[in-house]
């Protein structure tokens, strides 16, 4: 194994964290320096994530790039074990891409810029960590690290929304998000402790996912235990995945957040929740998972329908995307709950695809809001005339989200539906109806806001800046690429999905 393979995973976690710590020492009041430095750091992680994805050997499958660093020995037995499998690989890549894009887009942050990038990079480090650790302590450590900066990122740099009769302040959005997510992690933490105690009773107290998996396979976790611990993880992680009815933080949080943070949060962070259900819940508690999956698929279907209906009734661009995220995360949860190889592969692909397209949407909405200071779709009109590129990119993302063939969303949703049709036919039908509802609100939005009559009050708007165009174009290309040729992703995902489902 080469040196790169040995240390790449550690590097990809430490690079943003070290970048964040170093940024603290940058001089205040020179916003561009902080931005350049953050670009530099996130470029490193982007390259690392590309290399990791490219070097993941999908014919061999399993966990690769494994490396263990001792951290605490007995009696607690915690190691920093790192490894990446085919489910994590596309998500690592996704985080690399979206983090880089979010940093670029955040050029417009001019107030306390340094602090902003410190927090943004710390968040990125946490996300990478969750995807690649093999130890519950560190999984939870990085999970919390990804949640922690959100409060300040939204509270300080976010924006409030005026609904006329009431105002949703950014403080409200930040606090709601924080409390929901930490409440979710309360459940996760209790679940982790329950696993540790159960492993201790089986003779090997440990937080290691590998050892716990072995204990689980050798039948040390009884059905009763699995049946009460799995829902802790399902709901705990589900909160972050936007699981209905615990999703209400998500639109408020996304809307209040500044553009770059919305991109990362809707694009990557919500995937941590779904990933946690797969990595911890399904892998360690297969019997509990099998027993609870009917509940999860029903909730997932509600997510799809409820999110779509809510999005239809919104007038704020960001709220529409926020509820659309809730709806699309529903497909991810449904795909997981099918416990079917095609459905689960579709779920992971949907995580990647939704991550890119929602980040793209938020980036473009950010560009519009930056210039017009309005997000109300009844006020915005005919933007295509003034902000052609921005509108075009947004339209592509919108079409991907309603599942237009040729774009990534279609492939992912089609796989989820296939899995669902084979397992829960009635719910699959409902989910397809949900996809139709998506078409309604997306097309209505595109027709009115972007392709409608040009309104003279928006004549002063300028099109996207070069940085915004670059990010937009790159994301559009990814959506097209995955839509036309998903094999590079699916073959990597599939190999690990097969082994994950081997437990069932």
């Amino acid at each position: 194994m080469s040196n790169f393979d040995q240390s790449a995973l550690l590097l990809i976690i430490l690079a943003p964290l070290a970048g964040a710590l170093l940024s603290v020492f940058l001089p205040r009041g020179r916003p561009n320096d902080a931005w350049y430095f953050a670009i530099f750091v996130s470029a490193i992680t982007l390259i690392l994530s590309l290399l990791l994805f490219a070097r993941y050997d999908f014919s061999a499958g399993g966990y690769q790039f494994a490396r263990t660093y001792e951290w605490l020995d007995a009696p607690l037995n915690i190691d920093l074990s790192l490894a990446m499998d085919g489910i994590a690989a596309p998500l690592v890549l996704l985080n690399g891409i979206v983090l880089f894009g979010a940093v670029l887009i955040s050029q417009t942050i001019k107030h306390r810029t340094r602090d902003f990038f410190v927090l943004l990079l710390a968040l990125g480090s946490g996300v990478f960590g969750v995807f690649v650790v093999q130890d519950l302590f560190f999984l939870f450590f990085f999970y919390e690290l990804a949640v922690l900066p959100m409060y300040l990122l939204i509270g300080v740099w976010g924006s409030s929304t005026d609904f006329g009769s009431f105002v949703r302040t950014k403080e409200y959005g930040a606090m709601k998000l924080m409390l929901f997510l930490v409440a979710g992690s309360v459940l996760i933490w209790i679940g982790i402790l329950a696993l540790y105690v159960a492993a201790g009773q089986a003779g090997s107290p440990t937080f290691s996912l590998v050892t716990l998996g072995e204990l689980s396979q050798s039948g040390h976790f009884g059905p009763d235990f699995q049946n009460w611990v799995f829902p802790l993880f399902m709901i705990g992680f589900g909160v972050l995945a936007g699981l209905w009815p615990f999703h209400t933080w998500s639109p408020d949080g996304h809307v209040a957040a500044p553009t770059g943070v919305s991109m990362l949060h809707a694009g990557v962070l919500m995937k941590l929740g779904a990933f946690g259900i797969i990595r911890v819940g399904m892998a360690l508690l297969p019997e509990g998972a099998a027993a609870w999956m009917p509940v999860l698929i029903v909730l997932g279907t509600v997510n799809v329908i409820y999110g779509a209906i809510s999005a239809m009734s919104q007038r704020d661009l960001k709220y529409i995307i926020g509820y659309s995220s809730v709806s699309h995360m529903g497909y991810v949860l449904m795909g997981i709950a099918t416990l079917h190889p095609v459905g689960l592969t579709g779920a992971v692909l949907q995580m990647f695809s939704h991550g890119i397209m929602t980040a793209l949407m938020f980036a473009m909405v950010g560009a519009i809001y930056e210039r017009s200071h309005v997000r109300d779709i009844t006020v915005l009109n005919g933007l295509m005339k003034r902000m052609g590129t921005t509108s075009f990119f947004f339209a592509i993302a919108g079409l991907a989200s309603l599942g237009l063939p040729g774009l990534s969303g279609f492939v992912a949703e089609f796989m989820v539906f296939t899995g669902a049709f084979r397992t829960y036919l009635p719910l699959a039908v409902l989910a397809v109806i949900g996809a139709a509802l998506t078409a309604v609100y997306i097309l209505r939005l595109l027709a009115r806001t972007f392709f409608g009559e040009a309104d003279p009050q928006w004549e002063h708007l300028t099109d996207a800046s070069p940085v915004e165009k670059t990010v937009g174009a790159a994301f559009v290309l990814i959506l097209l690429f995955v839509g036309v040729w998903p094999a590079p992703l699916t073959r990597v995902i599939n190999v690990s999905v097969e082994s994950a489902l081997g437990l069932f």
């Binding site: 606090m175 409390l179 930490v182 309360v186 209790i190 402790l193 105690v197």
Partner: protein, 521 residues
């Protein structure tokens, strides 16, 4: 049994500490008023010298002095260094405060040194009466220190409450000790455990005695439902004394409690299993009450008082998890005490610096601190995130360790409750962080307000008068804090992060300390 004077040299640090206190008193008489702050530096140097002395003299030494009253072991050494260290940082944080706000600095530092002596002896006591006397040495010093803000009626009120409740709880403790002695005929910890193991049926008097000891210590720890004194005392006391109460006196009381439980009760076996539930119930009540009532606080000191009650609850949960064959619980408690001390010292040092510059101590007064003095805001924010249990700070790691120990001892429900109350605590910590980072800085007080320094700065008042708010770029920066406070804050930041990401070296020391009192583990 060894003679009374054998191995007395092992107590050199204690004798020297008492000598240092008298030296400070003596030098105080010679120094002119404007140079009295040098006394603080003298005390700091002396304490650092004692740390070095202890580390040279004591490692590896195992002895019991005065026929079983005082222990010289790894546990005592660990806490000795911890207490001396806390003393150093508290004095460094208070030098400027004392210079600005307090009279009679000589007595202040001298009393502080005596209280450290009391704490050291508390960690060493292996006998109830010795423990009681050490505790009183600490308490009496604190009674005076709480009253140190002479002109401030709140300080006097707090001190009076503290003395009355303190004397009351001492009486209860003493009464409990006497009943235990009348039932068992011993007061030494190991004697108690031997007697408890051999007696088949426990007399009611013994039950009452043990209960009274728990109640007495509960008062000293400010564990619910014996916590009522704490908020008023914390609020009235001068800020460095509040810090000292919240950090050092808590750590010392737990050092005493941990040794008492580990040496007298945990080895008893079956009976300890029954008593664990009492400690667990006390812990549950304390963490719920502290964290819930903290939600309603507007004054920083009162907030920290209730927050510290919450933390006492967590540590008590660790005490319930002590077990004769695992060090996990004891490790967790000691690790938590260290992490809590490090984080709290940093927070309090930053608050002291803020108070020195502004004279304010309401939560709402912190508005805009991130712009006015970024380093202080960062220290308070990181400290509160750490106390709230978020990574990469020590608060996350210590909570994870302690709660794992609690769950592992069969108290998963208690660990769950602790995790849940941590979530509650995050809410009120975030309120403070919100003031510093999100709220804009407040305008200078209006002329009418300036005339009246006692004016209550309620947060409601500020939020309803938007004219007080200035735009972000029009704030009044605070002066840079003096070097001593700056050093405490920066060292605190480094330690908070370092212990959070790599606690292994500390935990090795912790494990050696807990192995000294729980040999079975």
């Amino acid at each position: 049994m060894s003679g009374l004077t054998d191995n007395l040299y092992l107590l050199t640090p204690e004798f020297a500490l008492a000598g240092l206190a008298f030296l400070v008193f003596a030098v105080d008489l010679l120094l002119p008023e404007e140079r009295k702050h040098l006394l603080g530096w003298l005390a700091v140097l002396g304490l650092l010298g004692l740390v070095v002395l202890s580390l040279l003299l004591l490692p590896g030494k195992e002895a019991t002095l005065y026929g079983g009253l005082l222990a010289i072991d790894g546990y005592a050494l660990f806490f000795k260094v911890l207490f001396l260290g806390i003393g150093v940082f508290i004095i460094l944080s208070s030098i400027d405060y004392v210079k600005l706000h307090l009279t009679h600095p000589g007595e202040f530092y001298g009393l502080l040194l005596f209280s450290i002596l009391g704490m050291n002896l508390m960690a060493q006591s292996r006998e109830l009466l010795t423990a009681y006397i050490s505790l009183e040495l600490l308490s009496f010093s604190l009674y005076v220190m709480v009253a140190y803000a002479l002109g401030n009626p709140k300080s006097n009120e707090g001190s009076l409450k503290y003395i009355i409740i303190g004397a009351f709880s001492s009486a209860i403790l003493l009464y409990g000790i006497s009943m235990v002695y009348s039932s068992l005929g011993v007061t030494r910890f190991e004697g108690i455990s031997a007697a408890l193991s051999s007696i088949t049926d426990l007399r009611p008097a013994l039950w009452v005695g043990l209960a009274l000891i728990i109640v007495g210590l509960g008062f000293k720890l400010a564990a619910a439902p014996f916590h009522m004194w704490a908020p008023d005392v914390y609020e009235g006391a001068p800020l460095p004394v509040t810090a000292y109460l919240a950090i050092a006196s808590k750590a010392a009381a737990f050092a005493l409690l941990l040794r008492l439980l580990a040496e007298a009760f945990v080895p008893v076996g079956d009976r300890w299993d029954q008593w664990q539930i009492i400690v667990a119930a006390l812990a549950a009540l304390t963490m719920l009450l502290g964290n819930l009532v903290a939600l309603a606080q507007r004054n920083l000191k009162r907030l920290m008082a209730y927050s510290s009650i919450g933390h006492v609850g967590y540590i008590l949960a660790g005490a319930a998890a002590l077990s004769p064959d695992s060090l996990l619980g004891a490790n967790g408690i000691i690790f938590y005490l260290v992490g809590y001390s490090v984080t709290s010292i940093m927070v309090f040092a930053a608050l002291i610096a803020f108070f020195n510059a502004t004279g304010q101590e309401e939560i709402a007064d912190l508005a805009g601190l991130a712009d006015r003095q970024p380093l202080l805001a960062m220290a308070v924010a990181i400290g509160l995130f750490s106390l709230g249990g978020l990574p990469i700070f020590v608060g996350f790691t210590m909570k994870f360790y302690l709660f794992t120990a609690v769950a592992n001892a069969g108290f998963l429900w208690l660990a769950g409750l602790a995790i849940f109350t941590s979530l509650i605590s995050l809410y009120y910590y975030l309120q403070v962080i919100r003031q510093m980072y999100i709220q804009p800085a407040l305008a200078a007080p209006l002329p009418g307000e300036e005339d009246n320094p006692d004016n209550e700065h309620s947060s409601a008042e500020h939020t309803h008068t938007p004219s007080h708010h200035l735009p972000h770029d029009d704030y009044e920066p605070l002066p840079r804090p003096p070097a001593a406070l700056l050093a405490v804050v920066v060292l605190g930041l480094i330690a908070t992060v370092a212990l959070g990401v790599y606690p292994a070296p500390l935990l090795e020391l912790v494990e050696a300390a807990s192995a000294a009192i729980l040999p079975g583990g």
